[in-house]
């Protein structure tokens, strides 16, 4: 850490300390700190409240719905009648030259969309028959068909999507955002990750890691089974009252330590114990779905206590209401190669659509009716797209129908936070490559940061001799201003 990094770090530490003080309502620690003259009034400067943002933000928070495994654009949003006409024919050589594939070999066959498409909503956008609920909110979506990446394997592509780099060891967007903006609610982590589909994403916890930023900015994975935040509950036999008394005693002993050694870390520790106590109460409450009315459960399709995408969508709304800055959902199961029943386009894919369609509709509708969609940015999509060719793993026709990984084109959508509904960008006639108004992963990241009030080139952290940014310098990146109202 160079001196500037240390300053940043100290500022971060200081911020959490200060914000704690500002919000403090209970506890011996608080009153003692106040008696030391270390209260909000003396340490909070109004300018700090802005964090590091560069201009007025449109979004206060982000909900990123990552469909891990990469859903097929050709079965959901990217309507390609010409591809259907080529169905079953040998793939022309021009599409194969110089390409690297994960599984496709030699000359595969073309594969038309497995499901029918129709136009929907006032905006008359194309959508397949797999998403009847999403269709109801299609006029809220800005559907970007021209995403592209340079990675065709899951783990590196997910790392690129979330950390801007295919190598491990870099901070994720959520870390950058909480580093830049701090946290609105000191009783909850500012960056929360919820995973469903039975598996973590391919790149593991690194996709919500803090990389070279201090670990205080890493995403906190919360679970719908067991403690929502690891180690949140007091052990059995320790009631809230007993915990309060214990905390008070710990803090009293620590105050004495501070008086003696004048170590500022001791001061921080006192405040962090207070925050931990409050987190125990507030986080448990935030994650308790039982209090939600029946109509909400009906709308989302939630069943409290179960690990599901629906539950996570409802949690996302509850966290959004409570001011969590960055809410990252992962839903595994979209890797539709056709290598097995569970993921094939003509089989498991349908279940994936069903499991996510209704909760997504509910999330958008619910945020809207609470007036939260205006300052919440929702992002939906996978880490890359899928090929217009049918996969022929091992060089042979496979039992189920599937598509291989395709970095050349994929569809993502955004909603809320001043994003203009409608469609953006185009792919070639077979949906293989983005051709018009192309949006790279770096552009997407720059656009997300823009909604939060950041210039992506100015949100920097010095490390390894460089001012590091999320979007990096290897590929150019731009804010896609055309997506905004």
């Amino acid at each position: 850490m160079n001196i500037f990094e240390q300053l940043n770090h100290d500022t971060a530490m200081h911020n959490s300390r200060r914000q704690f003080l500002k919000n403090c309502v209970a506890g011996v620690g608080t009153s003692w700190l106040t008696s030391m003259g270390l209260d909000a009034a003396t340490v909070v400067h109004s300018e700090d409240e802005k964090g590091l943002s560069h201009f007025a933000p449109k979004a206060k928070r982000v909900i990123f719905l990552h469909m891990a495994g990469a859903p097929s654009q050709l079965e959901l949003f990217d309507y390609k009648p010409e591809l259907s006409a080529l169905n079953g024919k040998d793939c022309p050589e021009e599409f194969l030259e110089g390409q690297r594939f994960a599984f496709i070999q030699g000359v595969p066959k073309m594969l038309g969309s497995v499901f029918p498409f129709h136009k929907a909503g006032e905006s008359q956008q194309w959508i397949s028959d797999r998403l009847p609920y999403t269709e109801k909110v299609i006029d809220d979506l800005c559907i970007i068909k021209s995403l592209h990446t340079d990675q065709f394997n899951h783990a590196p592509a997910q790392l690129l999507m979330h950390t801007g780099n295919i190598n491990l060891g870099n901070p994720s967007i959520g870390s950058w955002v909480t580093y830049g903006l701090g946290n609105e609610n000191q009783n909850l982590p500012g960056y929360i990750v919820l995973a469903s589909g039975g598996k973590a994403p391919s790149a593991g916890k690194s996709v919500w890691g803090s990389g070279f930023l201090p670990s205080v900015y890493q995403g906190v994975q919360c679970r719908s089974k067991g403690d929502p935040v690891m180690y949140l509950s007091s052990p059995e036999g320790v009631s809230s009252d007993i915990r309060r008394k214990t905390m008070d005693a710990i803090n009293k002993v620590n105050e004495e330590a501070y008086e003696e050694a004048k170590d500022p870390e001791t001061l921080t520790r006192i405040s962090q114990y207070e925050m931990a106590f409050r987190m125990q109460i507030h986080a448990s409450d935030a994650f308790d779905l039982k209090g939600e009315p029946d109509y909400i459960h009906e709308m989302y399709g939630t069943q409290p206590g179960k690990e599901s995408f629906a539950n996570n969508c409802l949690l996302a709304r509850r966290l959004a209401e409570r001011g969590t800055r960055y809410i990252q959902l992962f839903h595994w199961g979209w890797d539709s190669h056709g290598a097995g029943e569970s993921e094939a386009l003509n089989s498991g894919f349908k279940r994936q659509c069903r499991d996510t369609d209704k909760p997504i509709y509910a999330l958008i509708t619910d945020l809207k009716q609470r007036g939260l969609l205006d300052d919440t940015l929702i992002v939906w999509g996978g880490e890359f797209g899928r090929t217009p060719m049918r996969e022929n793993r091992g060089g042979a026709e496979m039992k189920f129908i599937g598509r291989d990984h395709n970095p050349g084109a994929f569809t993502m959508w955004m909603a809320g936070a001043g994003v203009k509904p409608g469609e953006y960008g185009e792919t070639d006639p077979i949906g293989y490559r983005a051709v018009k108004d192309k949006v790279s992963v770096q552009d997407l990241q720059a656009t997300i940061l823009n909604r939060l009030g950041f210039n992506h080139k100015q949100l920097v952290y010095p490390f390894n001799g460089l001012d590091q940014t999320l979007t990096g310098v290897i590929k150019p990146s731009r804010v896609v201003n055309e997506l905004f109202l």
Partner: protein, 960 residues
């Protein structure tokens, strides 16, 4: 850009502030002190190693004294007014003034003082200096000008005291013995002292009591475990392979090796040599082979459909970056994409250095080839090592009998193919070369009919695998493996007779497969796998020469069975075949030397097959006859290859002209007495462990973008002592540090000191730092009496919340250990990269995906939740409370005081005892009405469990 500027401004001004006003502008202007910071801040962004706008750069003096695009001399020593640089910085004409201040420009104009500095510096001759870290350490004697030399206990104290006196700071009085012992014990062995150790030390009035205590700690087997933990961050040690499936990897022997190496106090130069190049030492021991796993701790990507070459290259890049950031403290990674923006290191040097690592056999295969058998029986380890290494040599020796003849022989006649059939895809022949296209399934085979040009006795058939790619910069291409060559002679009358092959000789014995497999059809066979780097040759010798008459022909079947992850076939796509009638091929099979070598090989394989053990990934150099060409990656992109590069190290760091032709020589360069970085980097790291902060705060960056040293003479003294007087002994270096007067100071700050030096940069008080992630848990295990000590062995799984492991395409499960393995030290905890042990990452342990030169300590509420609620800490609290009750005397207060002493080694104040005793009594009352059964069997014991837990949470318990 504005932010960038801002940050440089900050670095500059803060640094200036830190060095205080003590250094006055002298007559002679120091380039490093005064000029380089201005250049780095305001100039090199455009005129540096990356961009050379107007062909002007300020990285090397020779360039800065040259001419830019304008044709004007940039700097003329002695003559500012003739120097274009100076003319531009004083100009106010927006067309020529520098730095550019227009919109989008990088900098504001230099201020008057800076302009004057540059003017004077040019007048004085524009002398350049290398950055301090590239000049070898200098011993400075400061002992004579100290006001209070009696404070000094160790040589290093001279330098610290000199600094304090120059800042008008007074050292803090010595810490009480207990405070020092806690600090020294946690620092040296990672564990707090026991009460017996503490009491013995307190009672020891021998004048050498401190020395005796340090020697006791340094001799403890726990010492190696503590320092291995630190090294494992640098070595990115993990029990899994990383990436998607993140499957298990056996490499725990490397950790054991580390622990033993530290315990034996292996000299640091040997320690580095064995890890970076143990395999290249003549007759390496098992330990030296194990040590090379340092470089194999890179990740292996087993995700289906990944390109093995991409991730092999990734691993090579990781090895280069790790070597530099962990061992040399230079941000060498910058030069992967372009010349270093601040350091005198050109782009090419990255690839010169990567060439040291580019020719090892590993290639991102799922089985982590090459692996090395480590015998379970320690007595057999060296035998197994010798056997494996001699088997490798014998394989080469056997092959050499035929290899030397393959291309030399002039007798080869190409086969003429008359019929070609492919089981999948297309096949054709052009000028005798078979070319295929289309889709090749795994197990594709080609059936060929071939005429022999001249009747006679065919003694050998040669098979050449030819890359399809003609541009060498685009190689390697997809693997190409001949798994089974089946040949039948068909006589003119239609009689068929199979040709039985006895032996395959190849142009090289390399890679995971054996060419001999291709006549048995049982393995993957001969060729390039997983990638084809160049044309390959093999010769098949039949048991008997094949007699070919006019009209006879050969029916040939070429079968490919190899595939890479994701079922991608490695078919032989382009090839040519030849026959020879040279009788010397047949004669080879009865050559007694050849037969004896084969027999020796078979015998050694037989012996090895009976030794049981674990196979771990190691470094293994490819044979000289099949080296990869290392090329520069243009813009750092591995598919965009430039010129070929030979092995080498940056010139700026090799003034002593060390030989650098292989990894072993490279380590000698690195550990050479004149290397300016190796010793400083390690001395700085050890200092940071003990004092909470490095002399150079950026442990991984001693370069010009790193933080300036707070006390360079101190760093140089330690570095020179480490490699000179102490002969690279880490224990001796530690001994000087923990026995120093600086380290022995009390760590309590006065109001004034806390204000003047809040971060304790100048060490006017003793260090006070948080325990590391490992220490937090190990401390709880120790004070509760649960710790189970056993050196080495496989990783263990102490309890973690269920459902934390959820890797895709992986069935691996975390199973909470029962019995002693539940209570082993944290260094032994199973480390899964994509899902590391959660309580440790909360306390800042890195995931170990890549080398981490420095942990950044944080202080968060989630840490409180771990030590309060983690079942591991609850279990410790329960045992701890029993200890307090049984050993702590009769009263609640004495038990609390005893517990406090166990966790802090200090006497509890009355206030603390009173606070906790009050809590205890309240809790006893509470537990009379609340359920306590999960904590203890009665309210009193349950209350004491909570007291124990509180004690594990207090600041003094988490701090050393």
């Amino acid at each position: 850009m504005r932010n960038k500027l801002l940050s440089f401004g900050l670095i500059f001004s803060t640094t200036a502030l830190l060095v205080n006003a003590e250094e006055k502008v002298g007559e002679k202007i120091s380039f490093n002190e005064k000029i380089r910071p201005i250049l780095n801040r305001s100039c090199v962004g455009c005129h540096g190693g990356v961009k050379k706008a107007g062909d002007v750069s300020f990285i090397y003096r020779a360039e800065a004294l040259g001419k830019g695009e304008s044709g004007k001399p940039i700097i003329v020593p002695g003559k500012p007014e003739e120097s274009d640089m100076y003319r531009r910085i004083i100009s106010d004409d927006p067309k020529i003034m520098m730095p550019l201040v227009e919109e989008g420009g990088h900098s504001k104009p230099l201020n008057e003082e800076e302009i004057q500095l540059i003017k004077t510096w040019i007048e004085q001759g524009a002398h350049w200096e290398e950055h301090w870290a590239y000049i070898k350490p200098q011993q400075v004697d400061v002992s004579k000008d100290l006001n209070n030399p009696s404070w000094v206990k160790q040589p290093m104290d001279h330098y610290i005291l000199k600094r304090l006196e120059s800042l008008n700071l007074k050292p803090t009085k010595e810490a009480d013995k207990a405070q020092w012992l806690r600090r020294a014990s946690l620092d040296i062995i990672g564990l707090p002292p026991t009460t017996a150790e503490l009491d013995a030390f307190l009672a020891n009035n021998n004048p050498n009591a401190y020395e005796q205590e340090v020697d006791r700690l340094l001799a403890s087997p726990r010492y190696g475990e503590r320092w291995a933990s630190l090294w494992m961050d640098l070595a990115r040690y993990s029990d899994t392979k990383g990436y998607e499936k993140d499957g298990h990897r056996d490499v725990w022997q490397y950790r054991e090796w580390l622990i033993n190496a530290f315990n034996k106090d292996m000299p640091y130069d040997e320690f580095l040599r064995d890890q970076l190049a143990g395999d290249l030492i003549e007759k390496p021991t098992a330990d030296q082979m194990i040590a090379t796993a340092f470089s194999r701790n890179t990740q292996t990507n087993t995700e289906g459909g990944t390109d093995d070459e991409e991730f092999r290259v990734s691993a090579v890049i990781d090895r280069v970056n790790t070597t530099w950031s962990a061992l040399q403290g230079v941000t060498f990674g910058c030069t992967q994409c372009h010349s270093h923006p601040y350091e005198p290191i050109p782009h090419e040097d990255y690839y010169k250095f990567s060439a040291f690592f580019d020719n090892t056999e590993d290639c991102d295969l799922d089985n982590e080839y090459p692996q090395f058998l480590i015998a379970n029986d320690p007595a057999k380890r060296d035998e197994a090592t010798t056997l494996q290494l001699s088997i490798d040599k014998l394989r080469q020796k056997v092959n050499d009998f035929g290899k030397t003849k393959i291309t030399k022989a002039a007798s080869w006649k190409p086969l003429h193919f008359t019929e070609l059939k492919a089981s999948s895809g297309n096949i054709e022949v052009k000028d005798g070369v078979v070319e295929t296209s289309g889709t090749h399934a795994v197990h594709t085979h080609f059936n060929l009919k071939a005429n022999v040009v001249k009747p006679g006795n065919v003694t050998a058939i040669r098979f050449s695998i030819i890359p399809q790619e003609k541009d060498v910069k685009k190689l390697p291409e997809r693997g190409s493996v001949l798994s089974h060559l089946i040949v039948e002679k068909v006589a003119a009358d239609g009689t068929k007779s199979g040709v039985v092959f006895k032996k395959v000789f190849a142009d090289s014995i390399t890679g995971p497969y054996d060419p001999q497999q291709s006549i048995m059809g049982g393995g993957a066979g001969f060729g390039g796998y997983p990638k084809l780097f160049k044309r390959r040759e093999a010769v098949y010798i039949p048991v008997e020469p094949v007699s070919m008459m006019a009209g006879d022909y050969l029916q040939i079947r070429v079968h490919s069975a190899a595939s890479t992850t994701g079922g991608q076939a490695c078919t032989v796509r382009k090839f040519q075949m030849f026959t020879s009638q040279d009788p010397s091929w047949s004669a080879l099979l009865t050559n007694p030397d050849y037969l004896a070598t084969e027999a020796e090989l078979a015998q050694k394989r037989g012996v090895l097959s009976k030794i049981k053990g674990t196979r771990i990934p190691v470094l293994k150099e490819r044979p000289k006859d099949n080296l990869r060409e290392t090329r520069l990656f243009i813009g750092g992109l591995w598919l965009n290859k430039g010129d070929k590069q030979e092995r080498g190290v940056p010139m700026v760091l090799n003034e002593y002209n060390a030989k650098t032709d292989d990894r072993l020589a490279m380590v000698k360069w690195m550990t050479h007495k004149d290397n300016p970085l190796t010793s400083r980097v390690m001395a700085n790291r050890v200092f940071a462990e003990l004092f909470g902060r490095g002399i150079v705060e950026t442990l991984g960056d001693l370069g010009s973008s790193g933080v300036k040293p707070t006390n360079l003479p101190l760093l140089d003294h330690l570095a020179l002592s480490f490699q000179g007087k102490y002969q690279w002994s880490l224990k001796k270096l530690l001994r000087e540090m923990v026995l120093s007067a600086a380290y022995r100071q009390g760590n309590k700050a006065t109001e004034d000191l806390a204000r003047r030096d809040p971060r304790n940069l100048w060490l006017a008080r003793g260090p006070r730092t948080r325990l590391t992630a490992e220490m937090v848990r190990d401390n709880a295990l120790t004070v509760s009496g649960l710790a189970h000590h056993q050196i080495g062995g496989r990783s263990v799984m102490p309890p973690q919340p269920s459902g934390v492991w959820q890797s895709v395409y992986s069935g691996a499960k975390w199973t909470d250990a029962k019995g002693p393995n539940r209570y082993r030290r944290s260094v032994y905890t199973y480390w899964k990269r994509t899902s590391p042990y959660p309580s440790m990452t909360t306390f800042d342990a890195p995931s170990r995906d890549v080398c981490v030169p420095q942990r950044i300590p944080t202080n968060t509420p989630l840490q409180a939740l771990v030590t309060l609620n983690d079942p591991v800490f609850l279990e410790c609290s329960q045992h701890f409370s029993k200890r307090m009750k049984s050993e702590g005397g009769a009263t609640v207060k004495s038990q609390i005081a005893y517990g406090y002493k166990l966790v802090t080694q200090q006497k509890a104040s009355d206030h603390t005892v009173k606070t906790l005793a009050e809590l205890y009594h309240q809790l006893v009352a509470d537990y009379k009405t609340q359920d306590h059964s999960k904590l203890a069997s009665n309210p009193e014991d349950a209350a004491m469990v909570i007291i124990g837990n509180a004690l594990l949470n207090i600041d003094a318990a988490i701090t050393k």
